[in-house]
Amino acid sequence: MAEKVMVKGTEAIGEAAIRAGCRLYFGYPITPQSELTEYMSRRMPQVDGVFLQAESEVAAVNMLYGAASTGHRVMTSTSSPGYSLMQEGVSYIAGAELPVVFVNVVRGGPGLGDIQPAQSDYFQATKGGGHGDYRLVVYGPESLQEAVELTAKAFDVADKYRNPALILADGMLGQMMEPVEFPEFRDLSTLPDHSSWAMQGAKGREPHKITSFDINEYVLEQMNLRYQEKYKKIIENEQMWEEYKTDDADIIIVAYGTMGRIAKTIVNMAREKGVKAGLFRPITLWPYPYEALAKLADQAKLFFTVEMSMGQMVEDVKLAVNGKKTVEFYGRTGGVVPTPNEVLAKLMELI
C-alpha cells in the first residue's frame, strides 16, 4: 500500500476511479464538484484514458451510455441539478443493464438551491429518480478514505451485476481535504471479461442486444423480472453499514455520509452526559441494511435519525424499525449542516 497523501475530496474520487480502471470520463462542470471534472481533464490523457467535457449533463449521460456498451469502465460526476438532468439516461442505463459509475456531490435543493452540502437527494438516489422499476447500488461515504474505497467497489459491483452504481457524496466531502491512502493501479488485463454482452462485433456469433426496450409487454415483463432477480442478489450480498458503540446503546442515532461522521461526535458527547447512545451508519443506501437496523430495535428505546434534509432516509429507518420503537427525526436543509451541539440538544429534549 502506498503512503497517505493529502487530497481534496473530488480529486480523491477521480484518482480512485482511474486506479480502479476507469478510462473514460464524461462530465459537465457544476459546483461543488467541478474540480473532479477538471482533475479528469488533467489525468485522463496521462493514463491513456479519455476525457470529454460534454455540452450538458444530458449529453454526458448518453456518452456514458454509449461508452459503457463497449464494455469499458466509465464514470461521470455531477451535482444535484445536473444529476436530475441525467435521470433519463440513468433509467435507460439501468434498463440496458450497463455498469456505469455515477457520482452525485449533493448540494442544497430543490431547483437551483445553493452550493452548500446537503442530503436532500436521497429519495432520488435510492427510490428511482428516473422512470421504471429499477435500482442503483448507492454508496454514502463518510470520509475521503471511504470514498476512495467505495469508488473502487462501485466499479466492481457495477461490473459484477451489470448495474449502474452511484456514489452519493455531499459538498462537504467534495470540498474537504484529508490524508488518503490510494490502492495500487488496477491492472487493466484483470478487469472482468464483458465479451458475453458488450458491443464488440458480431462476426461468427449471435449479435448481443443492449436495450431497455421491448414492444411486447410479456417480454418486457420477463426483462423486468430478470432485473428483480439481480436486485435480490444485490440485496443479499452487498449491504454495508457501520455500527459505532451500539453494543450497549439504548438510543440509536441513524445517519449516513457526512452526517454519519458528525454523529460519531454526537454519540460521544451524549455518552459524556451519561446517555447510552450509539450510531448506525448505513454505507449502502440501496440496498438499505434493513435487517441489521431492525435487530437493534429489540435493545434500543429510541431511534433518532439525523439528516441534512427535511427527512428522507428516516422513511427507511421506519420501515426497518417497523413500529417496534419510536423513530424521531432532526434535520437541517438548504445546505445547512447541523452542529453536534444542536443535534445533542434535540436528543436531550427527546429523552
Binding site: 459537465y28 462542470p29 457544476i30 459546483t31 467541478s34 471534472t37 477538471e38 481533464s41 488533467r42 490523457p45 476525457f51 467535457q53 455540452e55 450538458s56 449533463e57 441539478p81 431547483g111 437551483l112
Partner: protein, 275 residues
C-alpha cells in the same frame, strides 16, 4: 445625481454587484440600460430572462420584470413568457456556456421559429461562474481549467449560427465598442422577430489568467486591436481575418413573419382569439 432616465432601470439596493472588478458584464448591463433609456422603455412592459452563470446574474440588478431561471433554459422560459404575454418586450441575457452549450439546442430552435425575443449573448469565451472550464466559444488551443493542455475543440461562431438557424436580426460588438453595443441592442429591441446581439466580453479572472491576459485593460487593448468592422472585413482575405473579431450588423430581415404573427393569423382564420 445619476440620470433618472437610465437609473430608473437599476435596483440600487442590490448594488454593488457580485462581478469581479473590471468584468465585462457590467459594461454590457450598462449598454442595455442605455438602450432602454434611449427607447424610453416602460419597465412594466419588459421581461428580462436569464439562465445561470456570472452574466445571468444581471437580472438581479435590472429593475424590470426579471426572471432568473435554469442553466441553459432561459430561451424556452422566455418563449413561454412571450407566448403568454405577447405584449411584453422579452429580452434574454446570458453566457456562452448557458446559451450555446447546455442551451444550444434551444438557441437554434428559437432562431428557427423566429420567436420575437431579443437575445443578448455575453460571450466571454469561458464558463466564468464555475471556474474557467472551456465553453463552445473558447478558441481552439486556448487554456481552460478543463483544457489544461489546450482546447482540442473548435469554437462556434454565434453570429453564423444564429443567421443559419433563422434569426432575423443578428449583430456583434465587444465590450470595448460601447456605442455600437448600445445601438445594436436598440435595433434588436425594436426588431420584430428573433434578434441576437453577441457582445464579446472579458473574463480576465479565468480566461485571462489562463491565457496571459489577467488584467481587464489587456482585453480592452486586445478588443481594440483585433476588431474589424463588417464593411472592412468584406475587403479582407480569410488569411487577414484570422484571429480578428468582426463587429457590425450581419443580418436584418423584417420580411419574415414571427411565430406569433403566424399563430395569430391561424387563430383568426379559425375564429379563435390569440391572446
Amino acid at each position: 445625481m445619476p440620470n433618472q432616465k437610465y437609473f430608473q432601470y437599476v435596483r440600487k439596493d442590490r448594488l454593488p454587484n457580485v462581478w469581479c472588478p473590471g468584468c465585462g458584464n457590467g459594461i454590457i448591463m450598462k449598454s442595455f440600460i442605455e438602450a432602454a433609456g434611449n427607447l424610453g422603455l416602460d419597465k412594466n412592459k419588459v421581461a428580462v430572462v436569464s439562465g445561470i452563470g456570472c452574466s445571468s446574474r444581471v437580472t438581479g440588478y435590472l429593475d424590470f420584470n426579471t426572471l432568473h431561471t435554469l442553466h441553459g433554459r432561459a430561451i424556452p422560459f422566455a418563449t413561454g413568457v412571450k407566448l403568454a404575454r405577447p405584449d411584453l418586450e422579452v429580452v434574454v441575457m446570458g453566457g456562452d456556456g448557458d446559451m450555446l452549450a447546455i442551451g444550444g439546442n434551444h438557441f437554434i430552435h428559437a432562431c428557427r421559429r423566429n420567436m420575437d425575443l431579443t437575445v443578448i449573448l455575453f460571450n466571454n469565451t469561458i464558463y466564468g461562474m464555475t471556474g474557467g472550464q472551456y465553453s463552445p466559444t473558447t478558441p481552439h488551443e486556448a487554456i481552460a481549467s478543463t483544457a489544461p493542455y489546450g482546447n482540442l475543440e473548435n469554437n462556434f461562431d454565434p453570429v453564423k449560427m444564429a443567421i443559419s438557424s433563422g434569426a432575423t436580426y443578428v449583430a456583434r460588438s465587444t465590450v470595448y465598442h460601447y456605442t455600437q453595443s448600445v445601438k445594436y441592442i436598440e435595433e434588436a429591441i425594436k426588431h420584430k422577430g428573433m434578434s441576437v446581439v453577441e457582445i464579446v466580453s472579458n473574463c480576465h479572472t479565468y480566461f485571462g489568467r489562463y491565457n496571459g491576459m489577467s488584467k481587464p485593460a489587456q482585453f480592452m487593448e486586445y478588443f481594440k486591436k483585433s476588431t474589424v468592422t463588417l464593411s472592412k472585413a468584406k475587403t479582407m482575405s480569410e488569411e487577414e481575418l484570422k484571429g480578428k473579431i468582426i463587429i457590425g450588423e450581419f443580418h436584418n430581415d423584417e420580411s419574415r413573419k414571427t411565430y406569433l404573427e403566424l399563430y395569430e393569423e391561424l387563430s383568426e382564420q379559425l375564429g379563435g382569439v390569440a391572446k
